[in-house]
Amino acid sequence: MRLPRRGRGGAEEMRFRFSSGACFSAAALAAGAVLLALVMFLPPYVTGPDTLSPPGREHWLGTNDIGQDVLTGLLRAAPTTVGLALIIAASALLIGFLLAAIAAGLRGLAGGLVLRIADIMEIIPSILILLLFAAWVKPDAWGLVLLIALTTWHDDVRPLRAILLRELSRENVALARLMGASWPYLLVRHVAPALWPTLAAIYVQNAVQAVMRVAGLSFLGLVDPRLLTWGGMIQDAVDYLHEPAWVWLLLPPAFCLSAFLFVLLGIGRRLEESAAGVRGQTL
């Protein structure tokens, strides 16, 4: 017997339509797991006297300015980079989306308040806020996530508000509201699925931002400078762009990061195709 259909798409149908998206994400997940396992057996990421040596037999991707092996770094950085990026991007998007919904949905004080707070966040330099935090706290991993999410949400809130203003003025939203739907329900069921590509894009954008921001934090004393991320490796390469070393210092982490973004975009697309039932709907 078929499962009784539930309001939200039905488990079975999800599974059925998911297949391509599922394959894709499963592959990505598997790759992640393999990477994680690899990291266990990787040689340590230590400094050594072979500084800036080009790729070769000993160091497949060469070494950086203090003799650390680039390949080891790339692999070791993968779980942290990907994990932090995914989580931070998600929290920033969540906060941004909720506040944008408040700004778009509630007229008057609350909505205005959100925008005014966004104004203030735009005005006050984030380095100031981060330095203040650095003076008071030494955040752990979750603190870090929260900190970055709290200092990036305002990037998303205005564009999201513009989009939500449009979506919330749709008849289906007003009608569902009349039928007694709550705002959270509307956002989750009516608005978000219709905005999937945009949410995915903002998510990806946030992920880039997160990777770069985490890398920048070590200079403010918020994280240990040895916290290894692709963004950090890219930043360390900056001093050597004028030299041949940029080829093996910049390109590998930049390549990993773009591949990650591209995969993220791909997963977003496939998830949408399966979840919102849009496939090649355009011409």
């Binding site: 078929r2 259909r5 289906n172 849009v278």
Partner: protein, 510 residues
């Protein structure tokens, strides 16, 4: 010009069109009729190159103006569209660029097709579009206004092939006639396919009729032959005159009032749309409101259910015992009122859950919902199969969406149903389903109905009271005559008074 040979289209597993062989030559107008969901719009989209190859598989061949539209590249197709082939799509929701004024829409087409001598005002006059609309943006345009504009726009390029998908569904009689005249003009120079649920009305300007049933052409022939002596059962079903209601409900004297409107005024900006309206609808009764396009019917409907903020006056609804207000609403643009990513069952069950939450404040069991969904889908003449239930709204045909919207309204068991053009996209058969479903609801739980429609016959069959919105919202009220001949007569008279070929129309129906 348009030539189909064994053309077939599948979307995944579903067969949309099958083995179509059809030819429309220059100067010929083909009427394409068929049940709701038969594949008419799909055929239109195929010919204009709007079926994305990513999700559709094609077979056979389809040539338009010498180009094989099944295999043409996107850029080839975009070169074809405009001068060579034009298409008016079926839906009116979101049919115009919301950021552009009406004038910009027209000016743009004029500029593209180098009609330098023509001003937007002239185009308006030609399409019976009031000039005060020129500087409006599409938001808030009435259904008929959008439709007239779309037709006017489609005719500007004078394309070699023109496909019109329900070009008059949202128009009142006067405008319908004007639209027909416009479509008739210059038809001898182009191949034209007219998709309609009202073949009789278009018969005078058509040469041939093709009948589509479940993706196949089951009958094709000269207009007169097919309409007068249909051979295929599907055709007969399509042309059968709906029987007038056999049992008329008892007059609703002494019934409590379900809806009371008094002193209602509504302005859009400086324009007064409704002025000092007062009426009431007793329980179990049906009030039909008609009026020409742009008279303010949809505005009134939206006011009644609370989608539009009340400016002046009073609207009072009967309430359920729990105090919850349940008013069902059937939008003129069902596509606007249901998000495209919803599934059919999701749409219907959502309404049920939301209403249940508002009233009983307890979760209804999944099974119960499932049963109710199936029942109501069947009632409105839709399939209750799981496959269909799991389909996304955006893949449904125009008539199907309309009926899903009705199903959603009915599943809430509302006290009052506000139905804005509930049958505009429906064929005769589906229309009957809809009427029956509404009638059943009226008798089953005493639902009252406010019906907005251009369709005189529908009004005649359903209404207890008829009102006409005229001009600046003045309202005249008349009691519907007793059921039976009287009603039909009235509508005949009405037709006679407005036009010349009403007899034609009735003639074809006999």
């Amino acid at each position: 010009m348009i030539q189909l040979e064994g053309a077939g289209v599948r979307a995944g597993e579903t067969v949309l069109l099958q083995d179509l062989t059809l030819c429309v030559a220059r100067g010929e107008t083909l009427l394409l009729i068929g049940q709701s969901g038969a594949g008419k719009s799909s055929l239109a989209r195929l010919l204009a190159g709007f079926l994305p190859p990513a999700i559709h598989t094609f077979s056979g061949s389809a040539r338009v103006a010498g180009v094989d539209v099944m295999r043409a590249s996107a850029s080839e197709m975009s070169r074809l569209r405009g001068r060579r082939i034009g298409l008016i799509m079926q839906g009116l929701a979101d049919a115009l660029n919301p950021q552009m004024t009406v004038r910009a829409h027209i000016a743009e087409m004029l500029a593209i097709h180098q009609c330098f001598g023509v001003t937007p005002e002239q185009v308006c006059a030609g399409g019976n579009i009031p000039e005060h609309l020129l500087d409006r943006r599409p938001l808030g345009l009435s259904g008929g206004e959008i439709q007239r504009l779309l037709t006017a726009l489609a005719l500007i390029p004078r394309p070699d092939c023109l496909i019109l998908d329900e070009p008059t569904a949202a128009l009142d009689n006067v405008n319908r006639r004007l639209a027909r005249d416009a479509i008739a003009q210059g038809r001898e120079k182009r191949a034209q396919i007219l998709i309609t649920h009202d073949p009789a009305f278009f018969a005078p300007i058509a040469d041939r009729v093709a009948v589509l049933d479940r993706g196949r052409i089951v009958e094709e022939g000269a207009v007169h032959d097919v309409l007068t002596s249909p051979r295929h059962a599907a055709t007969r079903a399509l042309l059968r005159l709906p029987k007038p209601k056999a049992t008329k409900r008892a007059r609703s004297a002494g019934q409590p009032v379900a809806l009371n409107v008094s002193g209602l005024c509504h302005h859009h900006g400086a324009r007064c749309v409704l002025h000092d309206l007062s009426f009431s609808v007793p329980a179990k009764a049906c009030l039909a409101i008609r009026g020409e396009s742009g008279a303010g019917k949809s505005t009134l409907a939206r006011l009644l259910i609370g989608l539009e903020a009340l400016q002046q006056g009073e609207i009072r609804h009967i309430r359920k015992a729990s105090g919850a207000r349940t008013v069902g609403y059937l939008s003129q643009h069902p596509g606007r009122s249901i998000p495209g990513h919803f599934t059919v069952s999701g749409t219907v069950s959502e309404a049920m859950r939301l209403v249940a939450r508002g009233t009983v404040r307890e979760r209804i069991s999944t099974h119960e919902v499932q049963r109710a969904v199936e029942t109501v889908l069947k009632k409105v003449g839709l399939s209750a199969e799981t496959d269909f239930q799991n389909r996304r709204i955006r893949t449904l045909s125009g008539g199907e969406v309309q009926r899903v919207a009705l199903a959603r309204a009915l599943v809430q068991r509302p006290r009052l149903l506000v139905a804005d053009e509930p049958t505009s996209a429906l064929d005769v058969q589906s229309q009957t389903h809809v009427e029956k479903a509404i009638a059943l609801a009226m008798s089953e739980w005493g639902m009252s109905v406010v019906l907005f429609s251009h369709d005189g016959e529908l009004i005649a069959r359903m209404a207890d009271t008829i009102m006409t919105l005229e001009g600046r919202g003045l309202m005249t009220e008349e009691s519907a005559s007793p059921p039976g001949e009287g009603v039909v007569e009235r509508s005949f008279q009405e037709l006679e008074s407005t036009g010349d070929d009403c007899l034609d129309q009735n003639h074809w129906r006999d």
